[in-house]
Symmetry: C4
Subunit: 213 residues, 4 copies
């Protein structure tokens, strides 16, 4: 029944709006619940301004990890947004790759909370890295599948370069993340520092330059 | 006052955007708060990497149920999204069927948490299954009502097949879920395993095949 | 500077999309966090299926209130959605009326939690009713202002009837809610029962009938 | 490769929808989780209606701060919405300025909770003010960058006045916030009162008047 399939694919194009809306919802909530980790301890011992300073200081590792994870989610969202700038069609397999992507994104607040609580443990870095790795694998598969199925908008002259650029970005980032994770054998703080540096690099100096006027 | 009704129906078409937006919001939040169940116990007894391994291992049943419920919500969302691909009109009854659908979706994190906490209890499986069942009933009623009222887009040549396919999907899934629930009398883990297998089947091998290029 | 004002109003039309998106976000989150009230007590005393039955039974008042509040939010959302079906322009005053409306909606989970915890207290009913009342006042003011400023789409032949219908709905609902609240002096359960009955009436038998085919 | 850049910018225009959707998501969740601070203490000592009155009275400082923070987020959202009424193009730098803006917005519930818990502490006011200040700086940079890059819609006759009005608003608000923060050396309640007065002024008497019919 080829007609059914064709019709289905015609309507499935509208689904992309829903896919994006669901993703934006999940990303925004994941970003926002990161802050729930910064819960303020209610201590009977806070009597002076100085006591409150100390309490806030004790939150600083969690604040550091909050910024790291917000950047992680920002980078993931930017990548997701970029892919869907070019993707104009979809099928149920792409739909499910996209849902599994969200499943991994939702785990970021969990990995973040684990790292915030056990910042000096190699295993906490390992779990965080695993989360980044699985995201990288699914995000690559997502793009690869969309390209393979011809779900990409046709009117891009330099598609090859864009394609290469997206794939390279995922692979390069994963290499950096792996190196950062390995640094935990020296110090977990070193791992976190390197992840933040890598992320700041992607944040502040993206490979696509803005247009020159 | 037939004109009032007509006008209302003309404008009610725009409401569908809101209905979809509300649903995407509820789905994305329900998906994300599933992770809150994976709360990390703060134990004074975690001193070594090995202690943290044991702590994470103790979370593994909850992680299993997290994946199950994320797939549940993913399947529900895909179905919702599919129905609204064809639905182009609405009235207040469809609106309320859709809101009751959300009411049931929001209970999934509750059923999930109950099962995560009491994974060996038949009653916890029963509650989870009841949640799936009520969702199935409302989702069927929702589609049935939209068809009956002629709220479906007209330009589908194979509408009969699509209609049959959507109805069969709901009924088949519910039969599988009922069997899975009954398995709890042998073992609750068997129930969970079967639900996951059924869901993986829907996730990885949907009845609508992707288009052949 | 009349031109500035005109231009601003031209662009402010696009803002309506944002207003609706923000509202849908707030509604969907408020609906979803209602379920957080149904938190499952972790009791060391649950050893048998029967113990779990008793635990679930003890949650039943909260479940009742969950359904009531979900319907409350569903009714509020439907009303909001209906108003914005007709509203096609906006200014900063309408924007702020709409934000204050959200401020009141966000309090519903609070009032719900209070009532869930102190279900036999007249004051808890009073707070819940106050929440409904303030919502009613702002929702009326919101519609009244939009009408007064001519922010309503022009192509409605029966606008007068629609206008009257929207205003009457708010006023009638508030009268019923006030009576329900007063019933708390007999029994708080009676108040809750009446609110649910009123809401089921609005849910299942709306004043706008669906089109006859 | 100028073509790549041009093509990228053509598609990046669609990204604005995602940017707005993500922002609306983050704003709506941040607004809603403010209410989680109003958590109801479960006290065994509440036996009479009077006890519940006292309990609610003890929540009143938190309720005050809830209203202040909801207005803060409402003002921030209105400003964000206004900027994106005029912004029609984007690049990755604007994308990241916008993500950092969200990072600061998400911290508002944290600062609010801190202030709610330690309302008499100057440091809590200081943290809240810092949050407002950083938001002001990024929001100014965001607008400045969009103007500098020519990302603003061309068909605005009075652009200069609008531009000036947006910049002045940010600067004036920040001056008022700084003065309010300084008042904490007299009393933290005075700071909160002044912030609320400033915000009510922006809420009720905006600089853009609604159109005269």
């Amino acid at each position: 029944m080829p007609q059914l399939r064709d019709d289905y694919n015609v309507f499935a194009g509208h689904d992309l709006q829903r896919t994006k809306a669901l993703a934006d919802g999940v990303f925004s909530i994941a970003m926002t619940i990161l802050v729930l980790e910064l819960s303020i301890p209610i201590l009977g011992t806070v009597h002076t301004e100085w006591d409150l300073w100390l309490l806030l200081l004790s939150l600083s590792p969690k604040l550091l990890i909050y910024f790291m994870s917000f950047m992680t989610l920002g980078i993931f969202w930017t990548g997701h947004s970029l892919q869907y700038t070019f993707i104009t069609e979809s099928d149920r397999h792409l739909n499910w790759l996209s849902i599994f992507l969200l499943m991994v994104i939702v785990l970021i607040p969990f990995s973040t909370a684990l790292l915030g609580e056990y910042i000096t443990f190699k295993l906490a870095i390992g779990v965080y890295w695993l989360n980044l790795l699985i995201f990288g694998i699914i995000t690559y598969a997502h793009w690869h599948y969309a390209c393979k199925m011809g779900f990409i908008t046709q009117n891009i002259p330099d598609f090859k370069e864009i394609d290469k650029s997206i794939r390279n970005r995922v692979i390069t980032a994963q290499i950096f993340y792996a190196v950062a994770a390995l640094l935990c054998f020296i110090s977990t703080y070193l791992s976190i520092a390197m992840i933040i540096v890598v992320q700041l690099n992607y944040t502040l100096a993206p490979s696509f330059r803005h247009r020159s006027k």
